[in-house]
């Protein structure tokens, strides 16, 4: 209660300061959101689980921005949240959501201190998208965008970290155009003054631009324990160094974009006699060919990522499949833990992680078994082919990717797993066909098909896992502000896989049999009223059906949800 008083006083003082500050050096920004949901679950024969659940909250992010001088910018944001039903302040929480300071030194060196969104390359420091999000219709983004906002996930794949970042550019008069240098130092974990040492994550990137057509880069990151910050003399290290080449060339009417990254990683623990170090390399070669806008662009990619390649900054996952759902956490007469469905993945922020993980975390093979740790997934090699095209009148945008991968070394056998993935997306803008129709009329279609196979002539160890996702979305603009959006997404997975059990040093010590015959679908219909581009009111109805015939412990269930979602940015 005392804390609330302090924060209220602080907010009032900030507001009064702003009112005084008429010289535009201090201004406010932020966002507001209100959600109300009615949820229900239906399970055959379940007489124990309450079938209905209402929830809701209102929250406001209030940010104070200050520019005390030309080269300094300070930003602080407080989140005030009130859960519905918490009267007289009992359901109110105040959190410092973000705080940072950035500026320019001597018109040359940029710096930022505090909360920082940062990334390097997909093999060094990169926040990979969560499962099923590679393409999904607009309707499914209503709740997903709220989770992304809460978790500080951005569309450019940055991780939210705390620490300091510095970058500068050196320009040259001949031979080389410029050298761009970015460095960072983040505090990943504080010490407990006992056996847990302070853990930091640091590194940077140097890119040498020879010309607009050719550049070379080097990335270096290291997650390490700082000796002397605790009583432990063990020190974990995970250095990764990579080199990049980007080249662009035009040959007659064809444009060639070539990108490559290759590098080495190590993972070891000093003064730990039980630790076995891991060391491996990867390379990634990518070529994209385009010929004007009339023909589709084509891409070909080859990767080879070693089984012992470890890069914490790039292999940390967003969703923790070891976590449990918040909504209807247990169900059925046996009150088993409810499996994570696509509806939970869209809207349950408690399943998501905001910190980097030291381990190769658990993943759900039914959703993605091919590259669950992004491009940096260890033990993968192979080609992918891609094509993308947009019709001149923008009636159809289509792109597709086919990945044909395998393991680099076998697991428990010399026989390698083979993976193949087909990924197709299309957006059809029917409004371009009807000149009199001035509002959006869009149909989106997505298809992802994954296959994993390994035949070792041992019935209980053979692997055959297939999954298919089909997503159809619709957007009908009724007026300038009003639209109907809808989506149907089906996700089926069946077969058998052996999941890895790893020890504390990331080595495989056992395999766990995973079997699924999952069928789930989600249908969503929403009415959207847009007050302006940053201010929307959505009324959403959705229904999910889930069944897994191979797992008798988790009975089939239906989830229904009616929600009102208001969001605003200012």
């Amino acid at each position: 209660m005392i804390q609330m008083k302090y924060i209220t006083v602080l907010l009032l003082s900030i507001c009064s300061t702003m009112a005084v500050g008429q010289n535009k050096k201090v201004w406010a920004s932020g966002a507001a959101r209100s959600v109300f949901q009615q949820n229900s679950i239906q399970t055959d024969g379940d007489t124990i689980t309450p079938t209905n659940l209402n929830s809701g909250n209102t929250l406001v992010d209030v940010a104070i921005n200050a520019r005390p001088n030309e080269n300094t910018f300070v930003h602080g944001m407080v989140r005030v949240r009130n859960d519905f039903g918490g009267f007289w302040g009992s359901g109110v929480t105040f959190d410092m959501r973000q705080l940072y300071l950035k500026g320019l030194v001597n018109d040359a060196v940029r710096y930022q201190l505090g909360d920082i969104n940062y990334k390097l390359s997909p093999y060094t420091f990169y926040n990979n998208q969560e499962e099923l999000s590679s393409h999904q219709s607009e309707a499914l983004e209503i709740y997903r965008d709220m989770v992304h906002c809460d978790m500080f996930y951005t569309s450019d794949n940055t991780w939210r970290q705390q620490g300091a970042a510095v970058d500068f550019t050196l320009e040259f008069s001949n031979l080389v155009k410029e050298l761009q240098v970015n460095t960072f130092l983040f505090r990943n974990r504080p010490t407990d003054f006992g056996q847990t040492s302070e853990r930091i994550f640091f590194g940077g990137n140097a890119t040498l631009l020879q010309s607009e057509k050719l550049s070379f880069g080097m990335n270096y990151v290291d997650m390490m324990d700082v000796l002397g910050t605790s009583r432990s003399n063990k020190a974990f290290h995970n250095p990764v160094i990579t080199g990049t080449v980007d080249a662009y060339q035009k040959l007659k009417a064809y444009q060639f974009k070539f990108k490559s990254e290759s590098g080495i990683s190590e993972m070891y623990t000093l003064n730990d006699p039980n630790a076995t170090g891991l060391r491996d390399y990867f390379y990634d070669l990518d070529l994209e060919i385009t010929r004007g806008k009339k023909l589709p662009s084509l891409g070909v990619n080859y990767i080879n990522v070693g089984p012992q390649f470890r890069s914490i900054g790039a292999q940390s996952r967003r969703i923790d499949f070891g976590a449990q759902n918040q909504m209807f956490n247990r169900y059925g007469n046996d009150q088993v833990v409810r499996p994570i469905t696509q509806m939970d993945m869209m809207q349950d922020a408690s399943l998501y992680q905001s910190t980097l993980s030291m381990d190769l975390q658990r993943y759900a093979p039914q959703y993605d078994n091919v590259q669950p740790y992004g491009k940096a997934t260890p033990n993968r090699k192979g080609f992918s082919l891609s094509a993308a095209h947009t019709m001149k009148n923008e009636l159809i945008q289509v792109n597709g990717t086919y990945r044909l991968l395998s393991e680099v070394v076998g697991q428990g056998t010399d026989v390698l797993r083979d993976f193949n993935v087909l990924d197709l997306r299309a957006l059809i803008r029917l409004d371009t066909l009807i000149s009199s129709y001035k509002h959006p009329l869009e149909l989106s279609i997505g298809l992802t098909n994954q296959n994993t196979q390994r035949d070792v002539k041992l019935d209980t160890a053979d692997i055959d896992l297939k999954s298919t996702m089909i997503d159809v979305g619709l957007k009908i603009g009724i007026s300038e502000n009003f639209a109907i959006i809808g989506s149907y997404r089906m996700m089926n997975a069946s077969g058998v896989e052996l999941l890895n059990t790893r020890n504390d040093y990331s080595q495989i010590v056992d395999f766990e049999r995973f079997e699924t015959d999952m069928k789930q679908s989600i249908m969503l219909l929403a009415l959207r009223y847009s007050f302006d581009t940053k201010n929307h009111l959505n009324v959403v109805w959705q229904k999910l059906k889930y069944e897994d015939a191979s797992n008798q412990d988790t009975p089939s269930f239906d989830l229904k949800q009616f929600g009102i979602v208001y969001s605003m940015y200012f």
Partner: protein, 339 residues
């Protein structure tokens, strides 16, 4: 021509990069993980289950180990049960071979009371075929834990201890002996409901209450282990047991909160029933309001300067009645306590 030269340039650099990486880092091409044949092949018992000796005298520091061998890796459980009490020892593993390394029994207990002398039945269960094999072991001598006993509650309350209990409801800060305990027959019952404060009660064990007026611990915090037997009732999960280790670093006979170290062990997630909690002295942490904090003194773990060991029993005032039982508070060297 210029374009061709540029392509050659890029290809050349890439070749150098690739050679540097592949030659600079040798890849381990061995298969990962255990062999699938060892895991998923046909299961047969290659060597029957047996004990290394029929009679074992734990008092003479003897141990007994069990052996068996299978054609594939499987999960297995060895359950040793006393014929005279409910004492049970469970050894679990996952391997194709049970031997001295993973199948040894040193006389310790999983389910209390501790083992007495007499015949024990031993059962091996294997997951692969759900089969059970049996043998027996005769215990002729009991293990006697060595260490510095702070409190076993067998001789009542030591007048040197300081006990404080709030005047809440159903308070039981007293010695009792109405149930099976890990050691001896007495235990200390900490229970009650205090709806205005987290603290339910505390008990201080000062060094001056020890027979030699000090704990007599080594100065090496890596050699000293703190151990205590604790019990949580099945239905009560709100209790917090907090041990505080207060050091007298300047040797003035007092502990000063402002400039001397106090390390803590906070236990919030006890399993139901009796259990032994052990921690190396060097792994104790400094806490302030339950959060890690910098120690106030020399920031060194000095077990030889331990002035007072305090046990606080806490619970959220809004959570109602809470209870924990405590027995056999002991410091050991070279390893955690095994009863």
């Amino acid at each position: 021509m210029k374009s061709i030269n540029r392509i050659k340039y890029v290809v050349g650099i890439l070749t150098v990069f690739t050679i540097l990486i592949t030659q600079g880092c040798q890849r381990n091409m061995e298969t990962e993980g255990p062999s699938l044949n060892d895991l998923y092949g046909d299961f047969t018992v290659l060597e029957d289950f047996k004990a290394s000796q029929v009679d074992v005298d734990f008092a003479a520091n003897e141990t007994v180990y069990f052996t068996a061998r299978f054609s594939t890796i499987t999960s297995w459980t060895i359950t040793i049960k006393s014929s005279t009490s409910d004492a049970t020892k469970v050894i679990e593993g996952r391997s194709s071979l049970i031997n001295e390394e993973n199948g040894m029994w040193d006389g310790s207990t999983t389910v209390f009371p501790s083992f007495g002398t007499g015949l024990c039945s031993v059962e091996l269960w294997t997951e692969a075929d759900s089969s059970v094999q049996n043998t027996t072991v005769n215990v002729t001598g009991l293990r006697t834990p060595t260490g510095i006993v702070v409190a076993d509650f067998e001789s009542g309350i030591n007048p040197g201890w300081n006990i404080f209990a709030q005047s809440g409801a159903n308070m039981t800060f007293r010695i009792a002996n109405d149930q099976t305990v890990p050691q001896g027959s007495n235990y200390f019952d900490m229970g009650g409901e205090v709806n205005w404060d987290w603290l339910i009660g505390l008990i201080d064990f000062p060094a001056t209450a020890m027979p030699s007026s000090n704990f007599g611990l080594s100065n090496n915090p890596n050699d000293v282990f703190f151990n205590v037997a604790l019990y949580r009732p099945d239905t009560l999960t709100n209790g917090v047991v907090l041990f505080q280790f207060k050091e007298d670093e300047n040797g003035d006979g007092n502990f000063n909160t402002a400039n001397e170290d106090m390390y803590s062990l906070e236990l919030t997630k006890l399993e139901p029933g009796w259990q032994i909690v052990s921690i190396k002295y060097s792994e104790l942490v400094s806490l302030e309001n339950g959060q890690p904090a910098s120690p106030k003194g020399n920031a060194q773990h000095n077990p030889d300067k331990l002035h007072t060991l305090s046990c606080l029993f806490l619970a959220n005032p809004a959570s109602g009645y809470s209870q924990a039982l405590m027995d056999y508070v002991i410091f050991t060297t070279d390893g955690p306590l095994k009863l």
